[in-house]
């Protein structure tokens, strides 16, 4: 697993916490890390050079060196710069004022043009348009057939007068895609379609013949939008390719495809910077509905590998059963004990999201736990599931009834040793305790090793965590230093007196409905901890 930029920067800055100010050498080290991160993300070399130069300039300015936490500040500067390049000019499709809107797709072979044609058609159809797909990719064998299938899935008609290449792949030009495109637009006008999407053949930037053909298609149909489809996995060649297509067909927007992979997608930055054309859409999966408007801020975090909390949440929401989650939230909020049965449900839902390692890696600040994560065995989940499944429902609800003979039975049932069962129960009790403490409004308790200080959780992402302290205080100071001191005091007080501090009209109250009911009422099962 790659260590993320924020982790690396944190370690760079670790040594200079005491100094508080950044020297030139510190900044050099920082810039090196940023450069490396960008190169690892496949950002083009010239773009990296420009980018680091401008970041360096800003780092030398007072805004960073004077900041209390330079590491955070540098990350913020880098992020801002990235977002400004990526999203300087976000816009939606331009529709023609008269006649059908013509959208032409262009790109390398295998970038995902045909699939994107279907996705775009479906998206437009659901928005009330009546798109027509035009099969102008006569080059690749059976591309026309593929477009036909895609069109059928999207529920839109396809215009395919030419069967396309039915033989094998060839360097020779097949058919007349220019005529097909022209006829397609004419057909759309007579059939009263308001959008025409022209799927063209994939071509290499240096293939003069096919580039000329693409330019001819563009000239023949005069499209309102020319979308350049580019694979998010592309490396340094992105710049050459983008430039060739810009010269050839003068595209007006970019679509980033295969963003559901784990490529960091630095190409987005290169293309946006070199061509100045906006990235308009992202294609994020194999289903026709996996199509969305491009989010520059998320892309920035992704390029920097900063832990993509938003995507994690989205992924979680997709995989998690909403009703189940609500039940869970209510349960936690009401202060009831988190039982093994709940744990089992959660574990299964998390498993649906794929590799747990990968998912946990998406959390920002997991760098400190990375070692533990690397040692994490995915099969351990199955083993634990087996243990819990060998328990009776009553045992799952109340693990305290599990005595020696029950333990032996569970171990036998799940094929593990009794010590494994003991370990699970022991640690589950610990986790349960942690949940209760968290529920009390104490945020992340100090008992979690290595989780005390989560870097990279800046801005709104960390709302969940920063909410916790205000519950104890009536308000928080705007001065970071003072606020930190207050928080320390609050934490000390919380450690001394175990009862939850009375909640005032804190700002966090309205934002945290799940934990709201847990306040002054002492929840059942909590008394024993108050008596500490």
């Amino acid at each position: 697993m790659f260590t993320s930029l924020s982790d690396r920067l944190t370690s760079t800055f670790k040594n200079l916490r005491s100094k508080g100010r950044l020297s030139e050498a510190d900044i050099d080290a920082t810039i090196r890390e940023i450069r490396r991160a960008l190169l690892d993300a496949d950002v083009a070399v010239p773009v990296v050079r420009d980018f680091t130069a401008s970041v360096r300039e800003r780092c030398l300015s007072a805004e960073v060196s004077g900041a209390l936490n330079p590491a955070q500040q540098v990350v913020k500067v880098v992020n801002d710069e990235l977002v400004s390049i990526l999203g300087g000019e976000t816009r939606t499709l331009r529709f023609a004022k008269q006649g059908p809107t013509v959208i032409m797709l262009a790109g390398l072979q295998g970038a995902g043009k045909t699939t994107l044609a279907g996705k775009l058609a479906l998206d437009l159809r659901t928005k009330g348009h009546t798109p027509l797909l035009v099969a102008a990719d006569l080059q690749r064998p059976n591309a026309v057939t593929q477009l036909g299938v895609v069109a059928e899935r999207a529920g839109v008609p396809v215009f395919a007068p030419h069967p396309g290449n039915q033989g094998a792949e060839t360097d020779d030009v097949v058919g007349d895609p220019v005529a097909v495109a022209r006829e397609g637009v004419a057909a759309a006008a007579t059939r009263e379609h308001d959008v025409v999407i022209i799927d063209t053949a994939g071509r290499l930037g240096i293939d003069a013949l096919l580039m000329q053909q693409a330019a001819d298609i563009r000239a023949a149909v005069d499209p309102d939008e020319v979308l350049f489809v580019i694979d998010a996995m592309i490396g340094q060649d992105a710049v050459n390719t983008a430039q060739a297509f810009l010269d050839g067909v003068d595209f007006t927007g970019v679509v980033l495809s295969k963003l559901d992979g784990d490529a960091r997608g630095g190409a987005a930055l290169s293309v946006a910077r070199v061509t100045g054309r906006p990235i308009m859409f992202a294609s994020t999966g194999e289903k026709l509905t996996d199509f969305e408007v491009f989010h520059p801020d998320r892309m920035a975090s992704r390029i920097l590998d900063m832990g993509d909390v938003l995507s994690l949440i989205e992924q979680a929401e997709r995989a998690f059963d909403a009703a189940e989650a609500e039940k869970m939230a209510a349960k936690v909020a009401s202060g009831q004990d988190f039982t093994l049965a709940d744990f089992l449900v959660q574990m299964q839902q998390m498993k649906k999201m794929g590799s747990m390692k990968k998912m946990l890696g998406m959390l920002p600040g997991m760098g400190q736990m990375r070692e533990a994560l690397d040692n994490f065995d995915e099969r351990e989940v199955d083993r634990i599931e087996a243990i819990i499944r060998s328990m009776t429902p009553a045992e799952r609800e109340n693990p305290r009834i599990i005595n020696g003979s029950r333990r032996a039975r569970i171990a036998k049932g799940s094929g593990v040793r009794t010590t494994d069962v003991n370990q699970l129960l022991e640690r589950f009790a610990g986790a349960q305790k942690m949940m209760r403490q968290m529920n009390k409004g104490g945020g992340m308790p100090g008992g979690m090793p290595g989780m005390g200080n989560l870097p990279g959780m800046g801005g709104k992402k960390s709302r969940g965590r920063t909410q916790a302290p205000p519950q104890r205080k009536k308000g928080k100071s705007g001065n970071p230093a003072k606020r930190a001191a207050e928080e320390r005091a609050a934490a000390a007080r919380a450690a001394g007196e175990s009862a939850p501090a009375p909640r005032g009209s804190s700002f966090g109250a309205t934002q945290a409905p799940p934990s709201a009911p847990a306040d002054l009422e002492i929840p059942p099962g909590l008394e024993k901890f108050l008596g500490r």
């Binding site: 190169l39 351990e380 969940g464």
Partner: protein, 390 residues
């Protein structure tokens, strides 16, 4: 959405604590268990006996044998200044900070920073990746210091040499396409082609079939790409042109493992030489799809062992290619790489990183859209392409 955020994080943390904790607790116990026993007494003595030979080893122990084979190697190519070069060589190899410092004093870097940056940039532009490029350049710098090279073109030649060595022309890059024997029964060689979406798997299978037919082998194609629209048609078109039968399912979305199994069985029944199985493109981070690939592999090996698993990599792929190779290697046991679309401006330097890390050689390259544009991988011309001197 943000309301439930804390819950997700919290649950994830609980999961890590409960599950990930196992390892920690176990290791913690082990450590604790060590304390009362005698190992604590043994440990320091072990350590000290271990440590003592360690510092002496580089100075007295292994160095003489290491030098003896090295001496003639260094003596012969260095007619002038051989002694100093040898000394510098030893300093460079010593690895001690003192040696490194002394080397700096004894030698001079005749190339400017710009020259070095330019070299590194060449590698970066070819998608070699920041890590491998940095290491290559560092190694080269040491070598240049040792040998006292002054000419940038000579350094470039040395870089080429290093790259060729890294890509290793001596590796076996032939495809295993002869019939194999399993349980005393001769079965066809099975070649499974895998990769992410849009790299050209189907095309590669088609071209490979042509190559094999040209070599007068009998071939059966298996269209286990049941996901992408018209993929099976595309493969069938390729097959029919050279008279090769294609095993495919009647409907879209059939179980690819079943199709692969049928293809291999058909190959066995017809006693063909090679069965080529095309699979659907899958991104390596899709756990479900990778499991499906694992199943295809398992099911095929019931009928016949896999002779080759070819990963198709697009030459335009950047650093993600390493991830692809790693994950596909774990799931499918990749034995070779096919580098496609090398006819464009992309140079495919990522395979250097892949081979360096995973030791999987590139076996074939795709050089264009023509039906016979699949060629064996040639190290020298590939490295020349990487460095941009055509």
């Amino acid at each position: 959405m943000t309301d439930s955020l804390w819950l997700w994080i919290l649950l994830a943390v609980v999961l890590v604590v409960v599950i990930g904790g196992t390892g920690l607790v176990v290791s913690g116990r082990r450590r604790r268990g060590d304390v009362p026993g005698s190992p604590t007494v043994d440990a320091p003595t072990d350590a000290s006996t271990d440590v003592r030979p360690a510092p002496t080893a580089p100075t007295t122990g292994p160095t003489p044998p290491a030098q003896e084979p090295a001496e003639p190697a260094l003596d012969v190519p260095e007619p002038v200044g051989g002694r100093l070069a040898r000394l510098r060589g030893r300093l460079a190899r010593s690895g001690s900070p003192f040696g490194a410092r002394l080397l700096q004093v004894l030698s001079r870097d005749h190339l400017s920073e710009d020259d070095w940056d330019e070299l590194e940039e060449t590698l970066l532009l070819a998608d070699v990746g920041a890590g491998p490029a940095g290491e290559l350049i560092d190694a080269l710098r040491t070598r240049v210091r040792v040998e006292g090279v002054k000419d940038p073109t000579a350094v470039r030649a040395m870089l080429r040499e290093e790259l060729v060595r890294l890509v290793d022309p001596t590796l076996d890059r032939t495809l295993a396409t002869t019939r194999t024997v399993r349980d005393d029964v001769e079965v066809p060689a099975v070649v499974l082609v895998v990769g992410v979406n849009g790299t050209g798997k189907t095309t590669t299978v088609g071209k490979l079939a042509r190559v094999l037919v040209a070599e007068e082998r009998s071939v059966v194609l298996g269209a286990a790409d049941t996901f992408r629209a018209a993929a099976a048609d595309q493969l069938q078109t390729w097959g029919s042109r050279v008279g090769v039968p294609t095993v495919r399912s009647d409907k879209d979305g059939a179980d690819p493992a079943a199709v692969a199994f049928d293809a291999v069985r058909r190959g066995r029944e017809d006693a063909v030489d090679v069965v080529l199985v095309d699979t659907a493109g899958r991104l390596q981070n899709k756990a479900g799809l990778m499991d499906e690939l694992g199943k295809i592999r398992r099911v095929i090996t019931k009928e016949a062992p896999l002779s080759e698993v070819l990963l198709v990599l697009d030459a335009t792929t950047g650093q993600n290619g390493l991830n692809q190779a790693r994950v596909f290697g774990e799931v499918a046991g990749v034995t070779g790489i096919v580098l496609t679309k090398l006819d464009g401006t992309a140079r495919g330097g990522i395979v250097v990183a892949v081979q360096r890390e995973l030791g999987v050689p590139v076996k074939l390259v795709g050089l264009g859209e023509g039906p016979d544009d699949l060629a064996p991988f040639d190290v020298e011309s590939f490295v020349d392409g990487l460095l941009g001197d055509d």
